[in-house]
Amino acid sequence: MSGLRGGRPDYGGGIGAFLCAGAVAAVLLGVVLLFALLFMRGAAAFWPRPLTEWRLADGTVRLAEELDERPDGSIRARIGNREFYGLDFLIAGPEEVAARSRPADAVRIERTENGPFFGYLDQAGAETWRLRLPDGRPVELPAAQVLRVSYPNRLGWFGRVGAWFAGVGRFIVEEPRNANQEGGVWPALVGTSLLVILMSLLVVPFGVLAAVYLNEYARDTWFVRLVRVAVNNLAGVPSIVYGVFGLGFLIYGVGGAIDRAFFAADLPRPTFGAGGVLWAAVTMALLTVPVVVVATEEGLRAVPRERREAALALGATRWEMLRHVILPGARPGILTGAILAVSRAAGEVAPLMLTGVVGFARELPIDGDFPYLHLQERFMHLGFHIYAVGFQAPNVEAAEPLVYATAALLLALVLALNLTAIRLRARVRKRLEGR
């Protein structure tokens, strides 16, 4: 009996529990950092910053939106007025700035060209606006170029919050300007949504029917097992490979054939024989069909055998049993598949680059012109927009805040889609369980 006494001190945990908990903590930290970085940087892009007048040691005067302080004490600031200074940003050490002040009437003018104007407004004429640069030089600006005027140094705290919300709103509903460096992401948001909706319409019916065949009709032969293994492994194929397939088969093959058959008059200008939202959606559907099949099969298997027997014993045919009892019971599984497919499709970029996404589309694929939905049109996408803004814009530094903002928006969109679907699934489950 002596062995029972004197328990080991690490019974409740010890090194194993410490390692496991540490791993969880590390993962959590990573996720929290990711979200925090994206949302804070994204949100900061719209926070109205004051304009500080810098009198520099060499006698020049600048109005500066101070962005961040570096370890050596120097400050990076946006100085606007690109057509006069040739650059957007200035980094000045503390010894270079002789004096700093915040003139209340400093104005920030967003305009269609050359980025923002920082200075003073003398007269807003009907055709030309008379302005002064920070050093007092008078300049003129065609009124047509003016988008928005603000006096950031006059804003109180509430004014700033209001301006922030207005900025976020404009970011969402406006079109991009100035080679994507300014303005909003509305076309990319529309393109992403349209792509996801089209893809879901394609992938859910096909995936569900395929899963029903595999799980309900097919006998358990080596061939069926092979198909199942193939479907599962499709999920592991690199996504760019799907893009190649979409380009080679869908666009050049199917699209080319459609053009020759129905749009011969327009050739050699392609109609469906070029990248477009339809082919991108089909490619994405192919990419996501494995998850729908697998999740639906799980859902089908979760329907209790007794329930199947009850339907058959009431004289239901196999199809009636499927239609009225099994498929309704498998709805949570089907929804799970749809959630996973939508999340994947909303975030995947590589295959789109080969099948029709563009950095700037002149027209939306959906508009008020008959037939309203233009499936052959190229489109913009939030995921690709991040890349296009961050790495292809003429002035990458100026566009950087928008990269974070776009990334945060994409993340928010995927999260919102997921939450909606999860709540929907919870409701279906609750109804199925009769609570």
Binding site: P304, R308, E309, A310, L314, L432, E433
Partner: protein, 280 residues
């Protein structure tokens, strides 16, 4: 229950005699609705039934008893071909429903299962409303018009002694009911197909004593209007509810006869040993 009394066999016989005295006599006489002749049944290469011969008379309650694995459930499921749903099974011999062999290839299984309804061991309502559960069969077979459906659902729920408990929440989910209520709902659902024969596969074994008593009362009510075949592990239940009893052992029908006789005076030694609790 006085299971502690001296001779279980005689107390079962007492129960059976008591039950029989309270039951009205069946009018239809001896006309069998189902005749089983020389029935063998196989799961793959394993034989589960050996040469079963049995008549099931119209309107009676027939109890199938026997130890686990004796083939009584398998036999029950051959009567409406539910075994078809298990791959690799095969029946040989004849199951004649009104002189038609249910295993012959031209038989409409859907119609067979409508005429021979079934209730399972575990309550298995569909995840839909109480009303829709009962209306499931009639809707499938297009047997009731919309206007008649309400009346049919009410009649079946009353027939299954459930109406009083659920009449004010027909649109509520069937899964919100208690286990006993769910099982009576399953009986109502089977009744809605207007079957001739009702197969009950241990319908009360997953229920508490109170719900079990309600199911037994219900069987008593349904007797005469429907032919009922019930599989049960519970000797007292067989003695209480059935007109006749058939005893299965190792895939063979050992004997069958009026319940009162089976429990007071079995002709075969195995039957006596089983009902007195010597094995099983």
């Amino acid at each position: 229950m006085n299971s502690a009394s001296a001779s279980p066999a005689s107390s079962l016989g007492g129960i059976a005699a008591d039950a029989a005295s309270r039951r009205p006599r069946l009018a239809a006489g001896d006309a069998p609705v189902i005749r089983v002749r020389d029935l063998d049944f196989f799961y793959g290469s394993t034989q589960a039934l050996w040469g079963v011969e049995l008549d099931i008379r119209r309107g009676e309650v027939l109890a199938l008893i026997g130890p686990s694995g004796c083939g009584k459930s398998t036999f029950l499921r051959t009567l409406n071909r539910m075994n078809d749903t298990i791959p690799g099974t095969r029946a040989e011999g004849h199951v004649l429903l009104d002189e038609v062999d249910v295993n012959s290839p031209d038989v409409d299984v859907v119609e067979l299962r409508r005429r021979v309804g079934m209730v399972f061991q575990r309550p298995n309502p569909f995840p839909m409303s109480i009303y829709d559960n009962v209306a499931f069969g009639p809707r499938l077979h297009g047997r009731a018009r919309r206007a008649e459906l309400d009346e049919l659902v009410e009649r079946c729920l009353k027939g299954a002694a459930l109406w009083d408990e659920v009449h004010d929440r027909l649109k509520a989910s069937a899964l919100a009911l208690s286990g006993g209520q769910q099982q009576r709902l399953c009986i109502a659902r089977a009744l809605a197909n207007e079957p001739e024969v009702l197969l009950l596969d241990e319908p009360a074994s997953a229920l508490d004593p109170n719900s079990t008593a309600k199911i037994e009362d219900l069987i008593f009510e349904l007797r005469g209007r429907y032919t009922i075949v019930i599989v049960t592990h519970n000797m007292q239940q067989a003695a209480r509810v059935s007109d006749r009893t058939a005893f299965f052992l190792k895939g063979r029908l050992v004997e069958s006869g009026p319940t009162e006789e089976m429990f007071t005076n079995p002709t075969r030694l195995e039957t006596e040993q089983y009902i007195t609790g010597r094995f099983g």
